[in-house]
Symmetry: C2
């Protein structure tokens, strides 16, 4: 409580702000940044949102009405830097100059790994999303300040970080926030269309190829391959297909789903997902990787065939 | 308001109840029926849940601890029949005898088409689900009566009927209900596992085959085929694959997704989904089918090739 009050005082007592966030923007960091940007504008603050990265096209509805600045375009003195949704100061997506010459650095985040690098810090790892923290912050500043536009931003981060309320980080308070935002007549269906009904054509094509490789071992393990040839044939980036592993896990009776992504002819990225009891973090660690109990990964330099053999042999020990 | 009070009085003033619902049980009718069953037990009522149909295996967690009666097994006189989530008395999944020899028929539903066939009726087409109506009903009877077990039932129907809060029937009150149930420590993650991470293996296999037929016409229409051979090869029922049409709609830039399901060599069921502006109900009606503006279907007796040609020609008029 104390800490959030300090942040509210710091915001209300200053005029110039630069908001920034992490590289590889997603729904929660863009939603929280742009939501807070609009709110600070309403409070008559001088505010810039800076992000030196390419913005994802499916989230264009969030940023199409504002200017997202590059670091070198911003000329403002005596600014407070507000860092949102970023666990590590090194990952802040702005220039070294902006990272160092602030009056005050305000760090607001929900990542457990956040090391409180700000002058003021509000880090709540139990929050579903940074958007939920910004929602609370704005409600405390003025419970009328959140309008439809700000609501659209905050709802976006809430659903992208909770898997549309599927993940276990969804709290009772997350649903209260959703209820209140819906009452503001936010464009919930439009947001869902942009986020969940907007797959690249080549993603759906490579998904078809991938599912044709589906194999079940022992009734408990399902594997899917994404080969080097499939990536070439479908002209899709290696990074855009991580969700495919869920198709292996989400089969009746399967405990561990594994995706083998052939990055290069002799480099295979392996993703693990478990459903109930297998700690796939341990398995990934044996191969130099890591992650969480139910979602982890590792990268192995060998042929697809050899990697599959070694991994399946290991996973069978946990079944 | 009035009507619900009448129903509460009728329930509190009687002792014997039979709860029943529609054929082809789903999350909302089982969830509301079994949730209400547990609550009436707590109120020391004599209550039977009757359903003369096969129960879906993925919802076993709802019914595994109770006896679901067949009509002929129930011997009770002077019963009130409570019909849940059923728009049409003919679709009630119990014997003609039970349908006619009640003291009072209480009809609780959220289907617009419900013709108020009960002696007492509570039909609210704006409610997300029958589970949400039962939630309100129970909260008015006693705001402490809903426990974890009842909460699991009601949450199941809430999410199956709202597509896990994705559909536009999700109301602010639906999120409040979700928040309150989560506070009761319901097994949200277990429910999600049972419903969304529990695909039949053959479904995932036929999905792979289907996606390999994906075609895009004019940048706005995407089609997927499920051929007679695929159904035979994958040994899966024709009725379990309707979700495949969403993969066609949910592509960037696509307005209409179409699934062609070859029921027999010369019978094709066509499913349409639109994203924003095309009224696919009109299109389906031209071929003797129907549905809603954004989801419709029709069945045509002809070869797959001819059906595809005719349908695509028609859909192009709407793009």
């Amino acid at each position: 409580m104390m800490k959030m009050n300090n942040i509210i005082e710091a915001i209300m007592g200053s005029d110039n702000f630069i908001i920034t966030s992490h590289y590889s923007p997603d729904g929660d960091n863009l939603g929280s940044s742009i939501g807070l940007y609009y709110a600070l504008k309403k409070l008559n603050k001088n505010v810039f949102f800076v992000l030196d990265d390419v913005l994802p096209i499916n989230l264009k509805f969030l940023y199409e009405d504002i200017k997202v600045y590059k670091s070198e375009e911003v000329k403002v003195k005596d600014y407070n830097l507000i860092s949102l949704d970023c666990g590590d100061k090194d990952r802040l997506c702005c220039s070294e100059y902006l990272k160092e010459n602030y009056k005050m650095l305000i760090n607001i985040d929900h990542h457990k790994s956040n090391d409180n690098y700000g002058d003021l810090n509000y880090v709540d790892p139990t929050a579903s999303s940074t958007c939920e923290i910004i929602y609370d912050l704005l409600m405390r500043i003025d419970n009328k300040i959140i309008d439809k536009k700000i609501g659209n931003c905050l709802y976006t981060g809430l659903i992208t970080d909770t898997g549309n309320f599927m993940y276990s980080n969804t709290n009772p308070s997350s649903f209260i926030m959703a209820s209140n935002l819906l009452k503001l007549d936010i464009d919930k269906q439009g947001i869902i269309k942009n986020i969940y009904q907007n797959n690249p054509l080549n993603y759906v094509k490579i998904l078809g190829d991938a599912l044709n490789t589906l194999e079940v071992i022992n009734g408990k393990i399902a594997t899917i391959d994404l080969t080097y040839e499939m990536f070439k044939k479908n002209n899709i980036s290696f990074n855009n297909v991580d969700g495919v592993v869920n198709y292996a896990r989400d089969i009746q009776g399967i405990e561990v789903g594994i995706l083998f992504k052939q990055k290069d002819l002799n480099v295979v990225k392996v993703s693990f997902r478990s459903k109930s009891y297998v700690d796939v973090n341990k398995i990934a660690q044996k191969f130099g990787g890591g992650g969480h109990m139910m979602a982890s990964g590792c990268t192995i330099e060998d042929s697809l065939e050899n990697v599959k053999k070694a991994i399946i042999k290991e996973v069978l020990n946990y079944i």
